[in-house]
Amino acid sequence: MNQDLQRERAGASFNPELLTNVLDGSAENTQRRREIENLILKDPDFQHENLNFLSRSQRYEVAVKKSATMVEKMRKFGIADPDEIMWFKKLHLVNFVEPVGLNYSMFIPTLLNQGTTAQQEKWLHSSQGLEIIGTYAQTELGHGTHLRGLETTATYDPETQEFILNSPTVTSIKWWPGGLGKTSNHAIVLAQLITQGKCYGLHAFIVPIRELGTHKPLPGITVGDIGPKFGYDEMDNGYLKMDNYRIPRENMLMKYAQVKPDGTYVKPLNNKLTYGTMVFIRSFLVGESARCLSKACTIAIRYSAVRHQSEIKPGEPEPQILDYQTQQYKLFPLLATAYAFQFVGAYMKETYHRINEDIGHGDLSELPELHALTAGLKAFTSWTTNTAIEACRMACGGHGYSHCSGLPNIYVNFTPTCTFEGENTVMMLQTARFLMKSYDQVHSGKLVCGMVSYLNDLPSQRIQPQQVAVWPTVVDINSPDSLTEAYKLRAARLVEIAAKNLQAEVIHRNSKEVAWNLTSIDLVRASEAHCHYVAVKLFTEKVLEIQEKSIQAVLRRLCLLYSLYGISQNAGDFLQGSIITESQITQVNERIKALLTAIRPDAVALVDAFDFQDVTLGSVLGRYDGNVYENLFEWAKKSPLNKTEVHESYKYLKSLQSKL
């Protein structure tokens, strides 16, 4: 064990194990998680070469092998609970990238949600048993976010009782689906349904794409890998072009809408329930932001405790770089953010399960708010995390740029979260739509509830003139509750500004859509402020729940830092709204510095509490034992460029010397 890390751990003010239990939900959960993780760590079938040294094709091959092994092992170990599946996958797949993954995460759930009992009987068994491997093909080369714009067509032919699938243009080629390029032999394809000469919009079809037995593309199908990406090297994201490709009528998923043998279209009764899957995935992504940011913080903070550089005082030994104020200022607000997002993620998961039960009982009342909240929080947490991972990487200086740090991989595999499952700006605007609706509702005299209830208190909405003291005059910068109030006021103010600007543009432009576009920057700001408020509020509430004094104390410091740092970074909003005074901003900045010093002794213990195994971190810099430099050297020696003492390209050097 590196001595610096040993000293850091001995000097912490709390026992990280207790904090780990808080993060896992309970001590029992921590124990079960570790049991499952150990199943993998001790299993030789999961060992493989370091992915950093492999080509893309080799990485894909390793991932397929691991997918296959995993399917067998999960069955063998009896792992079926969704949380446990996640722990299991988290460990064996460094970055969750899994070619067979979409069979389980999209193909089967869609079949369950949208297939009739007969269809489930036909396909479910074989896909669960991997007799067929499915994927989900929605996005096209020219269309992503805007679903109604998809161009793939499925035209019904009553004579043969088949659908004829076509990709009529280049832009209609299915593009991006994971596992589509090389792995899957079936796909659920979203296409515009045309029957009896009329287009009925998007519907889902089960399409065989590769021949069972030979795995060759079927006639009429063009399928392949979309080529190298920023990350996700192990995944065969694919393309799919269909040319008058016929599938039987029974391959359209018909739980809701139907096409009768004669071609008659039967409308679905209720299609709002498809919301469910999106909400689930987005709330899962909030947790994913928290995990990735926690990993990045673990690496950067451990390395900063091991790395020594320059001198604060001449003649003294070089200090740990974590002792520099600028390094603390780079990393501790991100650490606080990681904790904030951990609790936001846990809240989203609970809320999803609670509301899902309500939906099961036919109560859809909370769905719109949940939908709006998950969209916004997915965008808010992924944008923040995206920037924060990069900041952690750069805080590791040059070594952060090497793949040995693990940080480039975390970044490139995380960053698509900002664009997939709903592009972030579009997500923020969905939240804004809900905020505007709520604002209008209050404006017309009806109260709103849930996270937006602060809109009931807007000064312009007050009916009774005597209630004057709306903005509290003093924000106590040492009280998380008081800071939550400040964030609430900021959100209320920005929602109101966006609403008023929108109204003005509507009057001015005479078109709601044009007005919406011309206010969209304000609308995104309002959504961001709303999400920021929610994060501060949830963090503050979580701290109050903690019983153990030492844990509560350290989390309270992080909560304060998270809230104050946000105020300092967005000082303009707080000053302009007269929520905080100029002299308070100065105090906020001073308080932040004091908090950095207070958190410093606990920094390493705080990242230890995330409890990542070295295998999961995939980082030489972030090793638990802190033996960074020895292992950096060992790691580099394995680089493919070092396989021969004299590189092949020496021929060019040689001839250069002779020709010039």
């Binding site: 020219g142 080529g227 680089s639």
Partner: protein
């Protein structure tokens, strides 16, 4: 030509060609550049098109091969070392070449070597009889040169230096061209002679055999492994085990070890310091800025081809560039792309101007040059990195594909935030200069101090308004108004920064603790100062374009946007002492929003003016003709994952499918 991009080029309120000439520094340069580009692009060996499909090994080999071809071309066509032709050649292959550090090796010998040493080594370098690298950074030490651990101990008996890596952390780590290419290394090591440590000195150490390229005895050498990018460069490690080199291999222009081991210092080697300045200025124009320019070209072009959703229900799907949020993502980076062009050229001119003075041992301008180049390197690399990433994400999913070109631009530009001086350290160097300059103004009130204040900080003593006079949104389109606003905030923060430092000192903290406890505020002051400097340089550059009013007008919008974007993202700093009121911030925001649709009209032309060839952009999304989707489809099919079969099927997928079926 795709009609959606064609229509963007129909109306030309200004001459794109003239703007290109301005960017190239004259019409002759544009012509020369295009000539070189056409030569380069006609050589199939110099194509970049397979880059995205290559492994690290293949990228390295391809870069060496390209370098070899370009050197042969240069020899044939008479392009001399350091010529514009070679610069343009490098630009047209996106700098995808080897031996970058060989040139630094050579330059360092020229500046730190004696005449005798130069006469011996320089021709060997020019003729590539030897290949050099510059080995400074160690595994455990980068920024702090004094902390380097490699030792060179003089042995009087044999008149040799014994160069040695005493610890694991002393292993040289990161030097380019070291891993696989170089035959010689310029090693920075602690000189020990006659039992005394004399600090860092430079030594020429042969590392590979000139016969068969194998490592020499005592040398452990190799590649440091895969990185985020720079796969074409063999960044390496070097461990020295008591390697002996002759006394003559220590570069001795400024210091010498006599045969008997006596150490002689020959003046202060300030030029050592100076060479870092030169490199920092060079990389701005040569490496960092073109990456942002390319990202803007790709993202803006793609945004007029990509259509998504409807602005009005009855309209066809809209170009995504017509969405306000997309404009807000792309136009600030575009404005920076232009702002930084003028800024980088300004620093380059300042460097040329100071160069002759410094060679004449007049170091008056050096502190300012050093502070400015350090700070602007940090600021430009930070902003360019953020800008490229912003452009990449503005392209949605396709921006994640390497075929878009954007991931590679990002992974390349982001390296510049930590190489050639870690950015935080560099900002703090600027901050030290600011504090010193400010304290100077306090020392001698009324004396000649103002005249002697360096140009970039002259505003510290300029008269300052307490309140911004703006009364309506249009007032924020006056360069003088926003430049003054930036100056005001910079002065306030510098004063604040000094005040914090003094307060801690007076409270009894020693100087070093006081500095460390106030670095966050110094950082903030330095950043605002630099923003002010860039706004000022941009506005002054515009004044010189009076004879080309159409271009001046379109660039002024970018300058306004650049200044206002900064004010709005740092609104707290402007509101803090009431310099701007809340109402004025709203005016600034209105002025900013009103600029977006104006810039929208010229956006394609503004990116066309950078004049990158399609081959050089190497992007399926950013080609001039706008045929995005066809190209993506074609390029994807060339991926080895599609052309080389699928071994994973035979090995794993087939058994998986069949094994399961048997069991069912």
């Amino acid at each position: 030509m795709h009609p959606d991009i064609d229509s963007e080029r129909h109306l030309q309120p200004f001459s794109v060609e003239e703007l290109t000439n301005i960017l190239d520094g004259g019409a002759q340069n544009t012509a020369l550049r295009r000539k070189v580009e056409s030569i380069i692009h006609s050589e199939p060996e110099l194509s970049l098109k397979d880059n995205y499909f290559m492994t690290q090994n293949e990228r390295y080999e391809a870069a060496i091969k390209k370098t070899f071809h370009i050197l042969m071309l240069a020899q044939r066509l008479g392009w001399s070392e350091g010529s514009r032709e070679l610069q343009y050649a490098s630009r047209s292959v996106s700098g995808d070449l080897g031996f970058g550090i060989h040139h630094i090796f050579q330059k360092t010998i020229r500046s730190l070597g004696s005449e005798e040493q130069i006469a011996k080594w320089d021709p060997l370098c020019s003729q590539f009889q030897i290949l050099g690298t510059y080995a400074q950074t160690e595994m455990g030490h980068g920024t702090n040169l004094q902390g380097l651990e490699t030792e060179a101990t003089y042995d009087v008996a044999t008149q040799e230096f014994v160069v040695h890596s005493p610890t694991m952390t002393a292993i040289k780590w990161w030097p380019g061209d070291l891993g696989r290419s170089a035959t010689h290394a310029l090693v920075q090591a602690q000189l020990i002679c006659s039992g005394a440590r004399q600090g860092m000195h430079a030594f020429i150490v042969p590392i590979r055999s000139l016969d068969d390229h194998s490592p020499l005895p005592g040398i452990t050498i190799g590649d440091i492994g895969p990185k985020m990018d720079f796969e074409h460069t063999d960044n390496g490690f070097l461990k020295l085990d008591h390697v002996r080199i002759p006394r003559e291999n220590m570069l001795n222009r400024f210091a010498q070890v006599l045969p008997d081991g006596a150490y002689v210092q020959l003046g202060v080697p300030k030029s050592n310091y100076f060479s870092m300045v030169v490199v920092r200025v060079d990389i701005l124009l040569g490496e960092v800025l073109p990456l942002l320019h390319k990202a803007c070209v790709i993202a803006v072009r793609y945004s007029v081809i990509r259509r998504q959703s409807h602005l009005r229900p009855s309209d066809p799907e809209a170009k995504i560039l017509d969405y306000q949020t997309q404009q807000q993502k792309l136009f600030p980076p575009l404005a920076m792309a232009y702002a930084f062009h003028f800024v980088a050229n300004y620093v380059l001119e300042f460097l040329h101007h100071s160069y002759s003075f410094i060679l004449d041992r007049d170091f008056t301008l050096l502190p300012e040059l050093h502070a400015l180049s350090a700070g602007l390197k940090a600021m430009l690399s930070d902003f360019c990195t953020q800008g490229v990433e912003q452009c990449r994400r503005a392209c949605g999913g396709h921006g994640y594909s390497k075929l878009s070109g954007l991931p590679s631009l990002l992974t390349r530009v982001t390296a510049s935030c930590t190489y050639e001086g870690e950015n935080t350290v560099l900002y703090l160097q600027t901050a030290r200069f600011l504090i010193k300059s400010y304290l100077n103004t306090q020392k001698s009130p009324g004396s000649a101090s103002k005249a002697s204040l360096p140009q970039s900080v002259a505003y510290l003593t300029a008269p300052d308004l307490a309140r911004c006079p703006a009364q309506m949104a249009a007032d924020f389109l006056h360069p003088e108004l926003y430049t003054t606003a930036w100056a005001h905030v910079a002065v306030r923060l510098i004063k604040d920064s000094v005040h914090h430092l003094e307060t801690l000192r007076q409270a009894g903290a020693d100087e070093y603790d006081a500095w460390n406890q106030t670095t966050v505020i110094h950082l903030q002051a330095a950043k605002v100062h630099l923003y002010y400097v860039t706004v000022k340089i941009f506005t002054e550059a515009l004044e010189k374009l009076e004879s080309q009013p159409a271009i001046q007008q379109v660039l002024k919008r970018l300058c306004d946007l650049y200044a206002l974007h900064g004010i709005l993202t740092n609104a707290g700093d402007f509101l803090h002492d009431g310099f701007l009121s809340g109402a004025q911030i709203d005016m600034a925001r209105k002025a900013y929003l009103d600029l977006l649709p104006l810039i929208r009209k010229d956006a394609i032309l503004l990116t066309d003016a950078f004049d990158f060839t399609d081959q050089c952009l190497n992007s399926a999304l950013g080609c001039y003709d706008g045929h995005v989707y066809e190209r993506l489809f074609q390029w994807a099919q060339k991926s080895p994952t599609n052309t080389e079969g699928n071994p994973a099927y035979e090995k794993y997928i087939r058994p998986l499918l069949q094994g399961q079926r048997a069991r069912l």
